[in-house]
Every structure is written in structure tokens, then in C-alpha cells.
Symmetry: D2
Subunit: 123 residues, 4 copies
């Protein structure tokens, strides 16, 4: 940390992710590339970009834009990701990704199982 | 959220990760499987397990224990992960992983570049 | 950051708190001393101490142990804090604080108001 | 959590704060009202408002705008808060608060003491 602003920028750089995603994605039939696309969408969302393009995603992963598109389609088909459509104030149609189906899936059904696996880990 | 304890457990489940890892791992020559091993080591660390075995890691990824071993070796060779040895109170040798080389690498050299890329994104 | 372990310990030191607590505590009739007791209970909880004593709390605030006791009583009366009783494996009665009533109160009723105030702020 | 967007908004509402602030503010000679002003400045900063006015702060605390001003002055005198001046692209003078002096103070000198107090707590 060389300059005066370092702690502040370090704090600002931190991202909160649900730990349960890392623990349970295998059970949802996801692989590492798909989880990384999810994490990138989550990161973009937190930074205010609610509808990153396949090209924007491809800039941060070792996956081509074409393959990013395919992963996005697959995540939508599996009901992990959804596209929401809103009309903004000027009545322009606005699309954005939502990971809500993923969080609902992970938290509502899995919480009990997760608690179980935690106590098993500790024995 | 069905039961009384839900918000509390949701809060407890959240994991903080440096956003810069998601933004810059491609520049470090890492792929999605390797980043996921890093994230799992980080998660284990935050939960108090400082030296997860390849088998423990393999339980949470779509990668075999053998391939996890190989990834761990590669991360150590690339100076992203290191093994620290301590003697505990009873003089027993104790090993643990540290991701400090990764964070140093990401934050010390990359902060300026990251600031640049942020301002470019906003234009 | 002088030593090799710094980023790691900095990451470990970070605490996640619901922003809505800072935004809405005045509406719940709470003052700064009471919110600080809540934050300290939350911090202790996240560190694994689920039932800090008034003396333990008083170590970290400019409030006497006696006044901490009184604040704890008041928070319980206002249904912001509750004491949960469990029997552990050895059938010993175990008490712990839960801030669940606070989070339920803040999130279930206030989310809509909060969204409103955010959009007002932005105009 | 009544509506579809709840987990997403809950995630977005979480704020990361350095735990060491809650542990060490008494040693810095701060009281609960002053820490709350610090936390509100931190919250505003993370939301993109880098120079909240005393009136904006007073909206979220049980402290008058006039007393907020006085606390801000005191924090600046104690070298916990500082005002940074920049010229933006249109050469307009821009002021913003920085809590960097606080974080430097807490982390650089206190880390060793904190580590010590943690090991003492555990004995």
C-alpha cells in the first residue's frame, strides 16, 4: 500500500458473495466456468451494470464471447439466471439480469442441508 | 426465509472476496478452475480451515482430488499460493496455505492499472 | 502493511453489517449508544461469541457495564434483541442473543420505504 | 422476503466495515456519536456521496446538523478525517472526505496489539 488512498480503495474493492454458491454449485449441476460467469454478472450488478454483454463478460474470463452467450442461455434454461424487462421513465424497454432464482434455489431448499453438512464437518 | 434465524444465517453465510481477483485473473495467466480453487481455499481459510486437503477441495468442485493437487502445485510454482510452516505451542509443525502472494501481486502492481480501466469503462 | 500477512489479516478483519441499520435506526427510536451495542453484539456473534456479557461489551464502548445491562434490557423490551435458549448435546441449557427480530423489522417492513428514499435521494 | 427481488436487494444492502474500528475506537478517544458519524461518512462514500453535508448526516442520526458540524471539525483536528481537494475535468474545485488517516492509524500501529489481544481473549 504505497499511497494515501490505499485502505479506502481496498475497502471499496471488496465484493460480498454468498458462500453457499461456492459450497453447492456442484449440486446444482454447474461447473467452474458457469460459476465464474455468475460471479462476473454479480460483480457487474454490484458495480451498477445490470446487463453486461457477452463481450463485456469475455473481457474478464478465458472464455470466448460466443461461449459466454451459450453459458448465459444455459443458465437461463436451468432457471438460475433470468432476464427482467422494465419500462423506464421515458417508457424505453430496459432489460437486466437477475440472479434471484439462483439465490432462492440455494437458500430456501439448501439451508437445512448446509447446516447438516457444517455439523458433519465439525465432527 | 422460513424460520426465525434466517437473516442471521444469511448474514453469517456471506463471504468477502477481492473484486480485483475476478477482474485480473486472466492477466495473471489463471483459468476458471484455478480461480475456483483459490476461492475455495479463501473460503476454507475464513471458516478456520487453513490447510484443506485435495480431497476436501474436490468435494466442492467438479475437479478430481488428483487434479486439485496438480492445480495446488501449479499455484505454488507461480507464486500465487504459498505454504507457511509454524510450530505451535506443543512444538508440533503446522502447515497452512497463504494467499498473501496473490493479494500482494494483485494490489501492489495492479491498483494503478485498475483505476485506469475503471475510468476507461466510465467513458 | 509491514508484514507478509497483511492483506490476509485485513480481509479477515472485515465485518459485514446491514446498511439499513445505519439508515433506519432513528425511525426505530434508537440512539447511537444503543446502535453501538447492537453492532458489538453482531461483531461478537460473527466471531463466535453468541452471548457477550455486559462486562465484555463495556470493554469496547464508552459505556459502563451497568449501563450496558440497561441497554440490553431495553433492546429486549423493544423486541430488537432476543435471548434464545437451547439445550446442547450434554443437555446443558445454553443462552444466546439473536438480532433476528431487528433484521426482520428492518427488512420486511422497511424495504419498500428504503427503495423510495433511495430514488428520492437521486433526484 | 416477500418479493422476487429480495435476496438481490439484501445482498446489495450489505456494507463492509473494518471490525478494528469497533474494537479500538475507545483507544482513539472516540465516543459512540463520533463513531456513528464515521460510519455514516463511510456508508455515504460507498454509495458514491463523497462529501455529505452536516444536514445529510443529521438525517440519519439523533444529532443536530450543528452538532454534526462540530463532530466533523473535531474528527479533522484529531487527524481521523481529512478533506481532499481535487480539480475535476472542468477544472472545478472538488472537495471530499477521506477516512484514510483513520484506517492507517487503526491498521498500521494497532495490528500487532490487536493480534495480542486476540490471543489473550482466547486463553
Amino acid at each position: 500500500m504505497n499511497n494515501q488512498k490505499s485502505y479506502q480503495s481496498f475497502l471499496k474493492d471488496q465484493l460480498i458473495i454468498p458462500s453457499i454458491l461456492l459450497k453447492d454449485y456442484v449440486n446444482l449441476g454447474l461447473n467452474e466456468q458457469e460459476v465464474m460467469i455468475i460471479l462476473q454478472i454479480h460483480r457487474f450488478y454490484m458495480e451498477g451494470n445490470h446487463f453486461p454483454t457477452p463481450d463485456e463478460l469475455a473481457d474478464y474470463v478465458t472464455i470466448s464471447a460466443q461461449d459466454c452467450s451459450q453459458i448465459l442461455r444455459k443458465l437461463i434454461q436451468k432457471n438460475i439466471l433470468q432476464i427482467e424487462q422494465n419500462h423506464n421513465e421515458m417508457n424505453v424497454l430496459n432489460e437486466q439480469y437477475s440472479l434471484e432464482p439462483l439465490w432462492v434455489n440455494l437458500y430456501t431448499e439448501k439451508v437445512i442441508q448446509q447446516d447438516k453438512s457444517i455439523s458433519e464437518e465439525q465432527t
